[in-house]
Amino acid sequence: MIQKTSLTATRRTVIKAAGAAAFVAAMPSVLRAQDGPIHLGALNPLTGAGGSYGPSMRKAIEHGVALINANGGLLGRQVELSGEDTQTNPDAAVRAARKLIDADKVVAVMGTWASSVTTAVAPVCWESKVFLTCVSGSDTITLLPHHGYLVRTQPNSTLQMEKLAEFLGKDLGAKRVFILGAQTPFAKPNEERLTADLPKYGSELVGALVYDKDKTSFRSEVDIALKAEPDMIYMNGYAPDVTVVIKDLFKSGYDKGRVAQAYAMNQKVLDNLPAEVANGIYTIAPSPAVGSSAYKDLSDFLGTADIDPYSCQTNDHIALVALAIEKAGEASGDAIRENIRAISQNAAGEKVENVVEGLKALRAGKEINYSGASGPCDFTDIGDILDTNFRYEIVEAGKFKTLRVG
């Protein structure tokens, strides 16, 4: 008798459990996760060529998450951040993205840096309907068929090269420009843009060369460049290889103009070069919104007055993603995709400069227009940033001196 009762109960339990399991499986995954924390992913270059930026970019995201959680989370749920390292390597980044999406179930991946990495990670994201925010510049990225699951806060190559051509031709009066560029997705597009843009300012591109950035010496490449008799060499690579190019140019006796992107020629690179070698190098970079309250808040948190543009941008990524989720009332890649422009470029909305202000305004039923530490954060239909300032600097006595911002 006892045995029979027990058996019946077991059967019922099994049927109930199976029924419940079938019901849960039939529910959309969004409903299933409704009670737990909201999972977001940070995918940054903690190691490799981007390693000098990644850790700070990650901290800027973590800072945003901490602020959000301290102010009631999103949709009444806490935010849980899962972080991975891209190693500034597309293969490693794709594995890391898969882990974030498949194991950690994130709805957004934030802060990929190198263009090659973003190009590799983007399809993984859009196929899983996960939103991707990046700081990569190559034109080709937003031309990918990403179905709206991608925005970038870094100006694209076209805009960067327009500004560079103007700076070289108009400000510096360079006549003969040569590009010594690392093998990257932006090497060829940059070359094409400069070929087209330099003549507008009475200058011309006299040659371009793409090198293998993992080599330890570029002496022969420098020889090829010098044959073209340039008066300005654009060193279009990343910090490790640009450092070697600078040294090899110096050794060759070249003493004319040199220009690089600020991410390749930063203070750390400068600290490791003798002053006479680095003096006179120009740099160009998208400039963060230095006067904004978001910049000040991040600067206090990171303990530096001079934040790199990428940390400002990833700080904005977490704010944009969080505000879009709160606005949508749903935590999914689709919800972020549908709402990101509604909170970042709604001209009628209340202007907010940090995520906490934004969340309060949204909860009070207001419309908002977010602009953050990196700038206005307004995007085109394909995800390019609309407007940003640029900062031009020169190395003098081992220090960067700002020439102009605009």
């Binding site: 293998d212 330890t216 490449e221 090829i224 490790p240 050794k251």
Partner: protein, 288 residues
């Protein structure tokens, strides 16, 4: 045209001579222990950083820093082999080789843990190149080449004229016969790691002297090092020198034919070519 070719050959000889130092280490370890120990890459990095600490923190001159760049990876190479790779060697050379690939990542991150990702440069003045007959060569390159040549000469004297050196060659040539003669294979194993990883460290610093260093310094060089050893004949020390010069000059000359973006292709191509047509390498497998 001629001066262009001559310049590329000069650049190639300099690159090849520096490459030869870690390549000798790699091939010597293969000759004695019969597995490719890829931690040569990490030990090149460790050497570069040991030299950096000596030069920048302690203010040692470059020649003294080079000694530390030999000593630290030599010791860490022996320790890594003794405690991690030696127990795995019993399971076959493939197991040990795969474990060494894993260790590359571990050791690279140990360096990263202490020094971070940033680029670092030695505290040395940078000199303009010397020019003659339309060709140029750097004082640092000449110094690096001299160090590499001295290291090779010392090694050849050690192998040719000392008891331990001869024991090492004996084990490499015929381990069975060597053990019958009473040579202790374990001691020789430790010795070859000491010398091999020390040379890797020295090579790492030589690469860094002319460029800059970061935790990936050794890893970036592993393909040409491996190619040099294979081309010269895995296990053959003079072969590693010949292989390194072949790869060094070949990479430079490939710039004329293929363009700079395909420089690394030469390393792969050289390995492929040798494996297809002369699997034993240019000089074969004899250790010396």
């Amino acid at each position: 045209m001629f001066s262009e070719l001559a310049q590329l050959v000069i650049n190639g000889v300099v690159a090849g001579t520096i490459l030869a130092v870690p390549a000798i280490g790699f091939t010597a370890i293969f000759g004695v222990l019969r597995f490719p120990n890829f931690t040569i890459a990490s030990h090149a990095t460790i050497g570069a950083f040991a030299g950096y600490v000596a030069n920048v923190y302690f203010g040692w001159p470059a020649w003294a820093a080079l000694l530390l760049a030999f000593a630290i990876p030599a010791l860490s190479g022996v320790a890594v082999d003794e405690y991690l790779l030696k127990p795995l060697r019993k399971a076959g050379p493939l197991t040990a080789a795969i474990a060494s690939v894993g260790l590359v990542i571990v050791l690279e991150n140990v360096v990263r843990f202490f020094f971070g990702n940033d680029l670092r440069g030695y505290d040395l003045p940078l000199y303009r190149d010397w020019s003659f007959a339309g060709l140029r060569i750097g004082p640092q390159q000449v110094e690096n080449m001299a160090v590499a040549v001295i290291a090779m000469v010392v090694l050849f004297v050690f192998l040719g004229f000392t008891r331990m050196g001869k024991a090492m060659r004996a084990v490499a040539d015929n381990p069975m016969l060597a053990s019958i003669k009473g040579i202790n294979a374990d001691s020789v194993g430790r010795l070859v790691n000491l010398v091999g990883m020390g040379l890797a460290g020295l090579g790492g610093m030589l690469i860094g002297l002319d460029t800059s260093i970061d935790p990936l310094t050794g890893f970036r060089a592993i393909l040409p090092i491996f190619a040099a050893a294979v081309v010269g004949g895995l296990g053959s020390i003079p072969g590693a020198v010949v292989g390194a010069l072949t790869v060094g000059i070949g990479e430079e000359l490939s710039i004329m034919a293929l363009g700079p973006e395909y420089r690394s292709v030469f390393g792969f191509f050289a390995i492929l070519f040798v494996l297809l047509f002369r699997p034993r390498g240019i000089l074969g497998e004899r250790a010396y």
